[in-house]
């Protein structure tokens, strides 16, 4: 069971998306897990074949419990991205698969659905290449797909029925699906559905976009919704009482877990607080200018500048970015900025936007929108929950002028941005009215002190004065 946040102690496997024998790819979603906060999709960071599912659906297990075993992959040709079918990845084939050459695969069984940081995941990519040809796999005429690929197709809105396979024996490959998805991602924004299915989905709280339609023209019909509802019922609210979490219960649990985490933070972390007022006239002017030229869909919000500036500043002052655990601070190379998003039903979640320091503003904007949307829908990925290296609290940019936050352990810093206000501001001996924001820093005294903290905040202010360079 991946730790999807320091406050997470256990989780319930809602649904397995893979079965033993399925070949999986790094980045595939293999399971859905329910936590107090949200339903989370568990990613895998390995290429390989699912050996055994260790935790059945509906069971609640503590963080750290192995969920499944992953065997080394059977690949037809190393480096040649041809997607094997589920039949190819059947267990019977697996024993012929392991390549003996690398340490990673010399260990045929790995409890490796465990989530790890991107760095650690990346570290495991090497064996990937080393995996080599296995036994010759006879091409099969079947177009059978692994559930993983089906899931991928579902997520991308690709109708498998209309897809022509390019793999051996016309098997549909991952590439086929991704290719099919590319041009149609916009076009398939609308899900075909019958009116009754729509009504049912609304009543049952099911997102039609997630339901596979079996009606005419691929339309979602009532039966599809009912099927989805049954599945849903088997997940979040199955007969087993352990996993039965009503919305109210979940809200209470979320409140409790936030409370526990924050209490732990306040107990363990010696916070110190700094604040500074940042002149945003350049940033807002630049933003207005940039947005003037842009269609609505691609306009930027101020938060993007704030996040980017924070990430770049964190690069400069590494004591703000990383994890403190077991009495040791491990700075992080990557800057994954947790974005505090308040849930309208109550509570706050701070999932990560990855590698903010390296993202362009447009890309960051896109990711931010996506993240907010998925947070609201409760479809966050495990990595997003587990690996922020620093948190920014500003999206609640209404109302108050300053935010003094509590650090999310094991992180070591939290930056708060208050409301942008027009304020008298003296510069070069002249007083003017400018849009300003109060930036605050809550930081861990075990890792840094006020001097470094001040440097960090100052750097943010400096970056925001030159928004065009962000």
């Amino acid at each position: 069971m991946p730790s999807l946040g320091a406050d997470m102690e256990s989780g319930t496997v809602v649904k397995w998306l893979v079965q033993p024998g399925d070949e999986v790819h790094r980045g595939d979603i293999v399971a859905e897990v329910e936590t107090e906060k949200s339903n989370i999709e568990v990613e895998i960071f390995e290429n390989g074949v699912i050996g055994e599912l260790l935790v059945p659906e509906g069971e609640r297990v503590p963080v750290g419990t192995p969920l499944a075993r992953v065997l080394a992959a059977a690949r037809p040709v190393a480096g040649h991205p041809r997607e094997p079918s589920a039949a190819i990845a059947a267990p019977a084939v697996v024993p012929t698969g392991p390549a003996p050459l690398t340490p990673a695969v010399s260990e045929p069984v790995r409890p490796s659905v465990e989530t790890r940081s991107r760095e650690s995941a990346r570290a495991h990519r090497a064996p990937d290449k080393a995996r080599r040809r296995s036994a010759v796999v006879p091409p099969t005429p079947e177009r059978v797909l692994s559930p993983v690929l089906r899931n991928l197709a579902g997520r991308l809105g690709v109708d498998l029925g209309g897809l022509r396979g390019s793999g051996p024996g016309d098997v549909i490959t991952r590439e086929d699906i991704e290719r099919a998805a590319r041009p149609s991602i916009r076009a398939t924004g609308r899900t075909r559905s019958s009116p009754f299915a729509r009504r049912q989905a609304a009543e049952l709280g099911i997102d039609l976009g997630t339901v596979r339609g079996t009606g005419p023209c691929g339309a979602v019909v009532e039966e599809d919704v009912r099927r989805a509802a049954r599945k849903g019922a088997a997940g979040p609210a199955p007969p087993s009482p352990t996993a039965a979490v009503s919305a109210v219960d979940r809200q209470a649990a979320l409140r409790r877990s936030i409370g526990n985490l924050m209490a732990r933070s306040k107990r363990e972390i010696p916070h110190y607080y700094l604040s500074t007022t940042i002149d945003l006239s350049s940033a807002t002017q630049w933003l207005a200018h940039v947005n003037l030229e842009r269609p609505l869909e691609s306009r930027l919000v101020l938060s993007v500048l704030l996040l980017k500036a924070t990430a770049l500043a964190a690069k400069q002052v590494p004591e703000m970015n990383g994890f403190y655990s077991d009495d040791i601070f491990r700075p992080s190379d990557a800057v994954h900025v947790g974005v505090a998003i308040s849930l309208r039903s109550g509570g706050v979640i701070a999932p990560a936007v990855h590698d903010v320091d390296r993202l362009g503003l447009d890309e960051l904007m896109r990711k931010l929108k996506d993240l907010v949307g998925r947070t609201r829908r409760g479809t966050l990925r495990s990595s997003e929950m587990s690996d922020p290296t620093i948190t920014v609290s500003n999206l609640g940019d209404l109302g108050v002028e300053a935010v003094y936050g509590v650090i999310y352990p094991p992180q070591v810093a939290l930056v708060g941005f208050g409301r942008v206000v027009e304020s008298p501001y003296a510069k070069d001996g002249l007083l003017g009215v400018r849009p300003v924001v109060t930036a605050t820093l809550s930081a861990d005294h075990r890792v840094s002190d006020g001097h470094r903290g001040g440097r960090f905040l100052t750097e943010i202010g400096r970056l925001l004065r030159e928004p065009e360079k962000l």
Binding site: L292, E297, S303, R344, K369, G373, G399
Partner: protein, 82 residues
């Protein structure tokens, strides 16, 4: 666009970005973002949603017209007549 149509467009858009929000509890002059707990991304999505449904181009300088329900209605209905 009549006020009723405008209100419907607003209602549907709000529903998309914040299905749990109850527009009935928002007074005409209440601030939408505060009443419905919309963050800046939500608000942008709201504006995008209005754009998609009406085809209206909504420049950023007009955002201030969209802060309240009454403002949205009059903005949509008057702009559509222009």
């Amino acid at each position: 666009m009549t006020d009723i149509v405008a209100l419907d467009v607003i209602r549907r858009t709000i529903h998309e970005i914040a299905p749990e929000a109850d527009l009935d509890e928002v007074g005409p002059d209440d601030t939408l973002r505060e009443s419905l707990d919309l963050d800046s991304i939500d608000f942008l999505n709201f504006v995008v949603g209005l754009h998609e449904k009406t085809g209206m181009d909504i420049p950023e300088r007009d955002y201030s017209h969209l802060f309240t329900l009454a403002g949205c209605v009059s903005y949509l209905s008057s702009a559509a007549q222009a």
